[in-house]
Subunit: 425 residues, 2 copies
Amino acid sequence: MGIVVQKYGGSSVADPDAIKRVARRIVEAKKAGHDVVVAVSAMGDTTDELLDKANAVSPQPPARELDMLLTAGERISMALVAMAISDLGYSAQSFTGSQAGVITDSVHGKAKIIDVTPGRIESAIADGHIVIVAGFQGVSQDTKEITTLGRGGTDTTAVALAAALKADVCEIYTDVDGVFTADPRVAAKARKLDRVTYEEMLELAACGSKILHLRCVEYARRYDIPIHVRSSFSNLEGTVVTGSIEDLQENTMEAAIIAGIAHDRSEAKVTVVGVPDKVGEAARIFTALADAQINLDMIVQNVSAAATNLTDISFTLPRTDGQTAMATLAGLQAEVGFDQLLYNDKIGKVSLIGAGMRSHPGVTAKFFSSIADAGVNLEMISTSEIRISVVVAEDDVDAAVQSAHTAFDLDADEVEAVVYGGTGR
Amino acid sequence: MGIVVQKYGGSSVADPDAIKRVARRIVEAKKAGHDVVVAVSAMGDTTDELLDKANAVSPQPPARELDMLLTAGERISMALVAMAISDLGYSAQSFTGSQAGVITDSVHGKAKIIDVTPGRIESAIADGHIVIVAGFQGVSQDTKEITTLGRGGTDTTAVALAAALKADVCEIYTDVDGVFTADPRVAAKARKLDRVTYEEMLELAACGSKILHLRCVEYARRYDIPIHVRSSFSNLEGTVVTGSIEDLQENTMEAAIIAGIAHDRSEAKVTVVGVPDKVGEAARIFTALADAQINLDMIVQNVSAAATNLTDISFTLPRTDGQTAMATLAGLQAEVGFDQLLYNDKIGKVSLIGAGMRSHPGVTAKFFSSIADAGVNLEMISTSEIRISVVVAEDDVDAAVQSAHTAFDLDADEVEAVVYGGTGR
């Protein structure tokens, strides 16, 4: 049998008992005949504790040193996991990101993996060891500095290792049973998906699902690595993320139209009112925002009112960037000549995602109707081939999710007992 | 000006305030015009906490993984020290032992430094950075595995860096004011030494002084690096360890006869009674003990009684090795044919050390007299050119130290206020 890569997040290795449980699960995979490579996050709150220490000595710690500090977290957890495996009579060796050949760019705090050179891991596998790799970290190609990958980093480490090692599957162990049709805290009847395509998972991740980070899914799609998202607290099968929409449509007539409904309460909406409807005005606005390093999400421009030749431009963005965006735009008012700026952070985004929708007419109408039936008003609309997103008032998000979940027949017959969470790295 | 290497132990970086204090001291040295390279230990109790975690997942953790785990401790402290320096407006970069080029053998848990290739450190110095290096750790030459240096490791790291960088001095910051003529907790009138030779410091370290580890002093002597032992809690000058006995005698007529008195309560005494006084019997005993990895200290053999042609052999050894030694010897009784084994762990060793004693007759007699004056009986005696050691009952150690301290005019006029301690790495 081939190589299996497993990833365990911080809550799965939070304390010695959790680490022992993880070790037993790893050994089971080894006993089943697989070569096993494991990426681990730091234990539970370790990262926050290290950040507290950093803040206690410096309000603005240098990014290089912050990466040096934080990477101690995975170093601790990986060594402990290797020890726990050894205690079960199996041989394990742990490797830092640098030792494992996780090569990144030089952007401290959110480095991107640009190559994986897993020579030491392959030697360790050949020698019969179970291999434990520190997630979330790497070494920069040019400067040989220690880097961290930012949010979702350990998932990305796991998928990158799976790709480099040509693994059969990358198992992401987490504290939920898999990917659900909606957040079960909002839609109590949400069902676990057995399978979802990369494209759908990308849209789910981009639209607020916290299960897998966007970068990890992008990486898996590029290298065609199946991801199995499953619980580290049970032996249930989870959700397999694999295959393209085309595969899905070729191979099964019964592909679900809709994969699920995601929601996101982390954004704010900015409206620039009364922008002169001339060539280049919108470009000026968005260039200024890009220069301020602000990532926009949905962008909507209304048709200009013929009488005034003025238009309104609305966009959504992370709330954390809201004040920067408003200050940037205010500085542009004289030059562009718009009337006023509106800011609203009491909004939420609800997204319907499904590869089937592009061949099924009427999905959009049904989605809007279901939201209207819940008495919820739409503030913005944006669509892609396999996604429809709407912005609603923050307080209306739950009602909109529930109504659409029922309308698209996603409700489970019985409520499944799940814990919904998800860790940051 | 040249390079200064500083070492800060665990108690000097125990918490954020301590780290900030250390950072200010480092910056002072930089302001004074030195290039500064710093070796740091793990914060306070970090090492013990990591060991607790290891024991919680495995009673016998593999040595490789234990080293991987423990090296996280210095990684944390060095990054925090660099951040605190940065907060003072100076640029600092931290480096692991591996990055700093500390090359060791492959013995996990007590690796020996075999080379230092400080290319990255020299580049960082050339770029104007203050350099912080993780103490106590390195990377093995053959296998590129992370290693730790064992007790006194950070002192050794500091001296090895000083040697490789051709530093002017290696400053060892600790929680005492320097090297004293005796342990001030025992001899209240102990005086701080301004200067002591490498040889004397080696004897002091070997005879129970906890200030500097033997390996660190050996390294400093081999590469002729002056060590300045001083307090991280004051600005007082400490003790400079430098120069050979020959230098001392050539350069100053007033060299002190005696450097100090050390004592050690960590040993036990074994006596093999009634050993046949034949060629090869003693060799058999000591070969068996060496095979059991037991390090002996003092060894004494009495003249054999002519009537019986039997002799007694006594030796001291670490108490922790006592049971192993007794079991080893018991297994030898039939073969060697000795009468019985005696074991006594209620002993202490008191040593008088001074380069001047070899040219001053009467030192030995005065030492023995001072101990006799205190009503203390001698159980074993051993001498070298610059040291006399005696074994006494454990309860008599304090009285022997005090009496000799006074007899050799070592008492200070006033009692100096000191804290005496010393950290393990």
